[in-house]
């Protein structure tokens, strides 16, 4: 298991110790989970059915902006503020 790649996908900073430990633990857990592979299953089958609901296209007033912004680690009163994006994407 490529723990570095998984940590990057999950956007988790891990110390070298953590990498070693999680790598080892997850190998062990996954080895135990191998038993699932021999089970005969039907792809895409689901355990139970849920009836979908859809909503009418009726606007609901948004809460005051401040209610959402005030909990932000950084904002300018109108926007959430984040460090500049350096890696191009």
């Amino acid at each position: 298991m490529d723990i570095d790649r998984i940590a990057e996908l999950a956007r988790l900073d891990l110390s070298p110790d953590e990498r070693a430990r999680y790598g080892r633990e997850l190998e062990g857990i996954l080895a135990h989970f191998e038993r699932l592979q021999s089970l005969e299953t039907v792809d895409g089958a689901s355990a139970f059915h849920l009836e979908a609901i859809e909503r009418d296209d009726e606007p609901v007033d948004s809460p005051p902006r401040d209610e959402l912004l005030r909990g932000a680690p950084s904002h300018d009163g109108e926007h959430y503020e984040v460090p500049r994006v350096i890696a191009s994407e």
Binding site: E54, S62, P63, E78, V85, S88
Partner: protein
Amino acid sequence: MSWESVIGLEVHVQLETKTKLFCGCRTSFGESPNSQTCPVCSGHPGVLPVLNRQAVDLALRFGLALGCEIPEVTKFDRKNYFYPDLPKGYQISQYDQPINGRGGLDITVDGQTRRIGITRAHLEEDAGKLIHVEHRPVSHVDLNRAGTPLLEIVSEPDLRTPDEALAYLKALRQIVLYLEVSDGNMEEGSLRCDANVSVRKQGQETLGTKTEIKNLNSFKHVHKAIEYEIARQIRELEGGGRIRQETRLWNDVTGETRVMRVKEGADDYRYFPEPDLPEIRITDERREAIRKQLPELPAQVRQRLIAEHGLSEYDVEVLTDERDLVLYFEDVVAGGASAKDAANWILNDIRRLLNEGDDRLTSLRIEAKALAELIALVQAGRVSTQAARKAFDRMAASGDDAESAVKALGLEQISDRGELEEKVRAVIASKPDIVEQYRGGKTKALDALMGLVMRETKGKANPGLVRQILGELLSE
């Protein structure tokens, strides 16, 4: 050695709903930042999405119009990636059971009509907006757009030239406008286009390595960027290089595409079914109800106009360019004008106004009914065609109806036979030399007499009637 280019387009169309795809926030454009957000569309802990029925209906309307395969069951999936404008850390999209499967769209280039395959058209939510701040090492996030319903329309790699790509995009925009599923406004981002471009040697079966070009936010850019990219790839290959699979950004200032991101392996979006939204069963009733309400599409309208009114292919092409123009045309005809007259006025004078103004039929001050009246006044001989143009300009500026514009400008023709006969007799009496020339076989002399009568009446005389009276009196 000649090259062939292969192009596929991915078009994101904003669906014209009042509210977002999964919450009740409004979708209006240009509002104050983060003023149209709630805990749901800003991805707060514990919130859940609830699907907007109208978005589903609009997506189905599009799919049915393009002959797409509509599945019995469609579902949503999560596309996982991190970006500050993506509040939940995943986009709710559709992966393996899109609401619209295979369909197609006809395009006409250089008189040749070709069907371009649609791979799929699925529903998904838009992301927010990341704004780069000048002079400070920070960016700003505005989530007003986050959660806006989009239809992502993916074409097959069936397009071969920039002209075809442009024609496809125009046809697509035309259709979404006809269907009223989107306002198709490219400047406001309601219609966005990415292009997948590759080249291969003529006759080669396999596809070349493709690049994806983003940021094509006008018809002009689409054409230029694809043209540039094809040339770049050919130049690269002919120079012995190779094409890397990458995402490139069109820069309109430099007129180039440049690398934005190299796709190492593939992105790992870790798609899985969205557990917060049960699968949607699309019942026959729902599908048929939407099918019944489908409006006429441009191709159908064109056929009908030619068959019903005998208009030319060219006239019909221009008339159907925008659905509003067709509706206007039909209203003018319904107001009593002949199809030919209505088409002439619309194709010349109305379009001139639109080109001069803000391009919107909705802000036009001449109602279809008023134009029909004006045409009727010409038909009845009450105003000349030339005078009618003057009246038209006044109507466009003031919103007057035809009758009042003609009155206000004093443009009404003199069609009273008695009154005109009197004037004609006076002119004949005062110009015996010209009369003589005419009688001597110089038919052009009649025009001179006509001109005199018109001058006498300040141009208001009904020219047809004057000519008729002149003819009669001179042959006495």
